[in-house]
Amino acid sequence: MAAKAIEVNNLTFSYPDTDEPVLKDINFSINHGEILGIIGPTGAGKSTLAMCVNGLVPQVINGEMEGTVKVNGSEVSESSVAKMSEDVGFVFQEPENQLSQMTIEEEVAFGMGNLGVPRDDMRVRITDALEQVGLTGFEKRSPLALSGGQQQRLAIAAVLAMRPSIMIMDEPTSMLDPKGKNEVYDVLKNLKDYGMTGIIIDHEVERIAAYCDKVLVLYEGEVQMFAPSEEVFTNIKKMHELTLNAPQVTEFLSSYNQAFGKDVKLSTTLEEAVDNFESVCK
């Protein structure tokens, strides 16, 4: 059987000088081409877990780690962070933190330059990456002249150009307006067409439900749920126990069933919720 895109086994991690591990015995795996959403309250360990996948933890951000993290079948701890960045791209919350060049073209070229990609190849990749995020025609502009949503898409393009097989985004939409948020999630959806695997950390459960294949719920460093999105979000009782909320339509159908003794099938997206509700209330 082909190796999983990401395979995490018995992962426990503690930051220096802390009593309790921030991640406790984490186990999960995702296949190539899948999009995984990671949700959980602030401080649950979401970002730390993401950084274990590209080796930033523990190689740059130190601590004590047990267990294994494998990317495309190879152990992350056996590669350098630089080597890992060829396989795993990382997009942070604030795009300004990862933009540094004078023009958009140079910005996209920057990461590739560090990988030693030949010049001709670079040109092709720049064109491709900008097209993928809808920024074709912006090549000569300054990154600082872009809106927040565009900057975030540019940060994504710069990572895409490095042709990683896995893309991790840590709260990439929190600074963006609704349109900008949709733009970023649409890029995430497109990753699938390129055979890429994606991980997104976000508090936006409605978008996670609509775009992710699977969801992993972290709570105080432990995996509380790991299942297809629908299965996670329709377990309303458990979500509430973990101080989390399901999408509003799921919350509504659940409250409706409870209040009126009905049995409308819970769903996690707007369209399906409307269909399910209609079929019972005609």
């Binding site: 602030t42 919350q93 927040g148 609704p178 508090h203 919350e251 009905k262 209330c281």
Partner: protein, 282 residues
Amino acid sequence: MEPYISVKNVSHKYPNGVTAIKDINLDIHEGEVVAILGSNGSGKTTLVKHFNGLLKPTKGEITVGTMNTKKERISKLSSRVGYVFQNPNHQTFLPSVKQELAYGCKNLKMTEEDIETRVQKAIDLFRLEDRLDDNPFDLNSSQRKEVAMASIMAVSPKVIVLDEPTTGQDHKGCKRVLELVRMFQREGHIVVLITHDMHLIGELNCRTVVMNQSEKIADDHASVVFSDKGIMEEAGLQPPQITQFANQITNLDEMKTYLTVESIIEWMKANKEEDVKVGTGS
């Protein structure tokens, strides 16, 4: 009743020639909670920065209390209008929570006794007793944000501006912001919210001003604004998921103005409309 903040025909042109707000008229009265919505770059923040004199109108006039912002010093205006920034790190810099809470009052040269009373009130309202000696940077982002809000509260300006208060907050953090807005209102403050968070506005169901391309395009109750498809589309906004759902499932117009799951369920119970007939949708 005279408005507390009165914005008359205000435009602001930045030195680089960009007109960020155009011909804005807006009156805000005692006791109001006003949300300012709009996409990134629509002029929301520029408008609000006029309230405390950080920006002066290049055309038109603004009065706050009885002060004309063009003629008053920022220091004087800041005792009337407190601004809580999106990123609490931009306004937290002292080594302990207690010092942080007293900073604004000290700056305004209040007496020691007065400062003590005000800081104590903020400590009580925000339940910060156990954190007074903590370094704000050892707190998590939600707690740090609360410290920033509490230190503004200590100054007790009439108007409290919250810039994107729910950004990056988990579900619990968002609920806390909601409580705090209501608390500010109970304490007699005017609250101005700059936000992209449609769930927050849905919960508050407050007056909502929509900015688009430097102009004010709507100013009404959230339920009215959210059901105006033209305005929402023009501004690139989407109402909360539950409102979109309500718009599609029922032919009972009244329900379309409900903005939260709880309020729809309550309405259904009151109207014994559990078997809501399915409308044509819109």
